[in-house]
């Protein structure tokens, strides 16, 4: 096989490929086949398998989603098909030739090899992937803005810089002003625009010196829209041109800028709308129906760059609302409760740390006044709530830790007894229960019951070193893998073959360390992050250790969010199983650091209880 200068030269000038060295380019060039599509031909159909990166050599291609809505219009030198290739999923969009189009198909294996060989190339495509995924415009998003003028969306005066500014000055001003796009003004009118993405692609990737004038790299005469235009039109323009920032003008003068996140703020699908809609439902079926909007909302939050902590709170807030509304519906059906009770959330809901895939753990703490005969009532409402939550996607707890289980529907004195026994006579099953039940939080009913329970538990736990030591030992069950992916603890069989359970091996160890450390410090805080901070304050762990663990948790949760977002976007059930191929070398490196931090903290925990 010979070098083909014409092809190599073309590749070398492509965004992303410009980072590759000559040998890598040559390797790509010789793994291409060329196809010609007539105007109107389908290139990839949604749901079909895709084995190559499509590079448009000449012509034009439109991407449309399943419903036929146009997602992007691509031209010469644009790539498509990489999301399905990188995520190893069927193609999500239809791609249709809008003109006669010549397409270079870069073999998927060669593409993977280039990603492996060059971190820069890989990073470029990972970013492009997230851009491509976030361009997903959920159809109902813009319902609420259609009546408004685009000028009403502008939130601040325009941030611009003069034509003679250097690249570095422009970037510095962007940092100061905390904006992701900057207008370049010739005094009155918009001369150009530069965005975070441009800085990545045109400056960092090409190595242009920061002292060059910004006019060299800006997008000249960007698409603008008149302030009187309909806000809906602005949304369309941004989608069609595949841009995230749109300067708004009036009579040639800059009014300001609108971005995609401005629409997010105004959309009808804001979480608050969902919460209020849940509150309006009179039947469990109605609640279930409203909850169907959850995946789109979660995607929206992820697009708005929610971190793991915020997303956990956001999802938990909705679960809490659903739980309360189901309880209200049940009380409306079965009448007022015969005695005081508290509906308690356990596990991740208790900790405000739910993810897109969470099952339900809950219990009922009844007043000590509860009579034997009252149980029938509480069994009925527990069934309504547990069934309702399951139908909403919070599947039944596999360990049957739910209020519908008579064992977990008891008066306060029984609960105190349970905890006392778990703490003083710890055995394996007790430790498992303790893990779930220590993360308890009152969702509805009488919070005094829960407070009373917590107080007694806190006392029992703190003075019981043996119990804590056993908890610590138990917390070693799942260890984060240390060696790299070759030695990663991958599931060996079944549906999740060759994947890493990132919850089990990444998140749970941190949650457990935090729980034990805060118990040892006599603190019965709820969120993992708060527990770590409280433990550090009580000198149970060092401040550095706490900060490092929180960082590790942030990072691992972010990976999980991104993974689950990809699954939601693909219309799949989210899970915690990461495939090694999903991660770029850079991400793997970071994950490795996060894991080793967790291992260090686990060892420290063992030492603390003289178990090492």
């Amino acid at each position: 096989m010979k070098e083909i200068p014409e092809i190599a030269q073309f590749l070398r000038e492509l965004p992303g490929f410009d980072i590759l060295d000559d040998a890598q380019i040559a390797n790509c060039a010789k793994n291409i086949d060329i196809a010609y599509y007539r105007q109107g031909d389908d290139i990839l159909t949604a749901g079909s398998e895709n084995r190559c990166l499509h590079i448009i050599r000449s012509g034009a291609v439109e991407l449309r989603d399943d419903a036929g809505q146009m997602m992007a219009r691509l031209a010469e030198r644009d790539c498509f098909g990489f999301p399905s290739l990188m995520r190893q999923t069927p193609a999500r969009n239809h791609s249709i030739a809008m003109e006669d189009t010549l397409v270079y198909h870069l073999d998927g294996t060669a593409f993977a090899r280039a990603r492996h060989a060059s971190v820069g190339f890989d990073t470029w495509f990972i970013r492009a992937l997230s851009d491509r995924l976030t361009m997903h415009p959920p159809p109902p998003t813009f319902r609420g803005v259609s009546g408004q003028q685009v000028r009403s969306l502008i939130t601040r005066p325009p941030v611009s810089i003069g034509m003679n500014a250097s690249i570095r000055e422009t970037a510095q001003k962007m940092v100061e002003e905390r904006v992701s796009a900057m207008l370049i003004s010739d005094g009155t009118a918009v001369a150009g625009i530069i965005t975070d993405r441009d800085i990545r692609e045109r400056i960092v990737a090409t190595g242009i010196d920061g002292s060059h004038p910004v006019t060299e790299v800006m997008t000249v005469s960007p698409v603008t829209l008149d302030g009187d235009a309909n806000a809906y039109e602005a949304a369309i323009v941004m989608m069609q041109s595949n841009i995230h920032h749109l300067p708004v003008t009036s009579g040639g003068k800059i009014l300001g800028m609108v971005s995609r996140s401005d629409f997010m703020r105004l959309e009808t699908e804001h979480p608050l709308y969902l919460v209020s809609d849940i509150g309006k439902q009179k039947t469990a079926a109605g609640v279930v129906e409203v909850c169907r909007r959850m995946p789109a909302l979660i995607i929206g939050q992820i697009e708005a760059d929610a971190n793991g902590e915020l997303l956990g709170k956001f999802i938990t807030m909705i679960t809490d609302t659903v739980t309360r509304q189901l309880l209200r519906i049940a009380e409306a059906e079965f009448g007022p409760p015969p005695c005081d009770y508290a509906w308690v959330a356990l596990g991740s809901q208790g900790r405000f740390e739910q993810s897109a895939k969470s099952d339900q753990d809950n219990a009922l703490v009844l007043s000590n006044d509860a009579k034997e005969t009252d149980d029938e009532y509480f069994a009925s409402i527990a069934k309504v709530v547990n069934d309702g939550l399951d139908a909403c996607g919070y599947v039944y707890c596999p360990g049957d830790v739910m209020a519908s289980n008579p064992k977990w529907r008891r008066p306060l004195r029984d609960w105190k007894q349970y905890f006392h026994k778990w703490i003083t006579v710890p055995e394996e099953k007790a430790l498992m229960h303790a893990n779930i039940f220590f993360d308890l939080r009152c969702i509805a009913g009488s919070s005094e019951l829960v407070d009373a329970l917590k107080k007694s538990v806190q006392k029992d736990a703190r003075k019981n070193e043996i119990f804590l030591a056993l908890m610590a030992k138990n917390a070693m069950t799942y260890q984060p893998p240390l060696g790299f992916f070759r030695q990663f603890v991958l599931d060996k069989s079944g549906e999740h073959k060759n994947t890493l359970d990132i919850k089990m091996h990444g998140i749970m160890p941190i949650v457990e360390i935090a729980r034990i450390r805060s118990l040892a410090a006599g603190e019965l805080r709820i969120c993992t992050r708060n527990r770590l901070l409280a433990a550090a304050k009580a000198k149970e762990i060092t401040e550095t250790d706490a900060a490092n663990l929180i960082d590790a948790l942030d990072f691992i949760e972010k990976l999980r969010i991104e993974h689950q977002s990809r699954q939601l976007q693909a219309g799949k059930q989210p899970d915690n199983h990461l495939a090694p191929e999903e991660l770029s070398p850079l991400v793997r490196q970071n994950l490795k650091s996060a894991f080793s931090q967790v291992r260090v903290s686990q060892s420290a925990l063992l030492n603390r209880f003289h178990l090492a």
């Binding site: 010979k2 083909i4 200068p5 014409e6 010789k30 086949d33 010609y36 000449s58 012509g59 010549l102």
Partner: protein, 222 residues
């Protein structure tokens, strides 16, 4: 050349004793003339020569790429320089190949063997067969005693026929590769590299075929 006559001639020649790899070429089965475009493998090939007269010119370099399953497969791209019997002559100015460079090239017989091998069981695709095919015939005659008995698709002839059929052929119609590619909206490539020309010709064939409703090998043959 008529396709069944080509087959007859190959059968006839195949019974004689001929040198390798020409014998394999003769004995390989040709695709059926009714085969669809996607089912046929083409060798898109371009030759650079020492002159424009096919009767006297020598091969200077050759490049080819396969078209199979309806796509140009760059994994199969090949090109090399050939050492002609005479000097480079006038064409050095055109191709940028000097005697020194050419001196490092392959012996023309070895080059021809490679071409024969890649053509075995496949269809030759060229732009303007009048030059390249005549030259290959002459070389085969000299080395193996017979002309090159392969089916030929000529994009220039195809376009010439199409324009004539639609009475669009005018005196100033250009059938040059680059101009035809322009018409089909194909990108411009740098000229005078035989591999790039071979790829360019292959893409032009894809474009021509895409414009037709359905295409068989027979539709493309002369």
């Amino acid at each position: 050349m008529n396709y069944s006559w080509l087959n007859t001639r190959r059968w006839f020649l195949g019974r004689r004793k001929v040198a390798s790899p020409f014998d394999a070429l003769l004995n390989a089965e040709l695709p059926a003339s009714a085969a669809s475009f996607d089912a046929v493998e083409f060798v898109s090939l371009d030759i650079e020569t020492t002159g424009l007269d096919a009767a006297t010119a020598d091969m200077l370099s050759v490049g080819w790429v396969l078209v199979r399953e309806g796509r140009v497969d760059l994994r199969t791209a090949e090109t090399f320089i050939v050492r002609p019997s005479g000097g480079v002559g006038d064409s050095a100015s055109v191709h940028g190949l000097t005697d020194t460079v050419v001196g490092t090239g392959l012996d023309w017989g070895i080059a021809l063997d490679r071409i024969v091998r890649v053509l075995t069981g496949r269809v030759l695709l060229v732009h303007h067969a009048g030059l390249d095919k005549v030259l290959l015939d002459r070389m085969c005659l000299q080395r193996f005693g017979y002309r090159l008995p392969v089916p030929v698709v000529d994009t220039l002839a195809l376009e010439h026929r199409r324009l004539k059929r639609h009475h669009h052929l005018e005196n100033n119609s250009s059938l040059r590769l680059a101009d035809l590619r322009d018409e089909y909206g194909l990108p411009r490539y740098s000229a005078h590299d035989c591999l790039v020309d071979a790829i360019a010709t292959a893409e032009l064939l894809l474009a021509i075929v895409a414009k037709r409703r359905s295409t068989t090998l027979d539709d493309l043959l002369g």
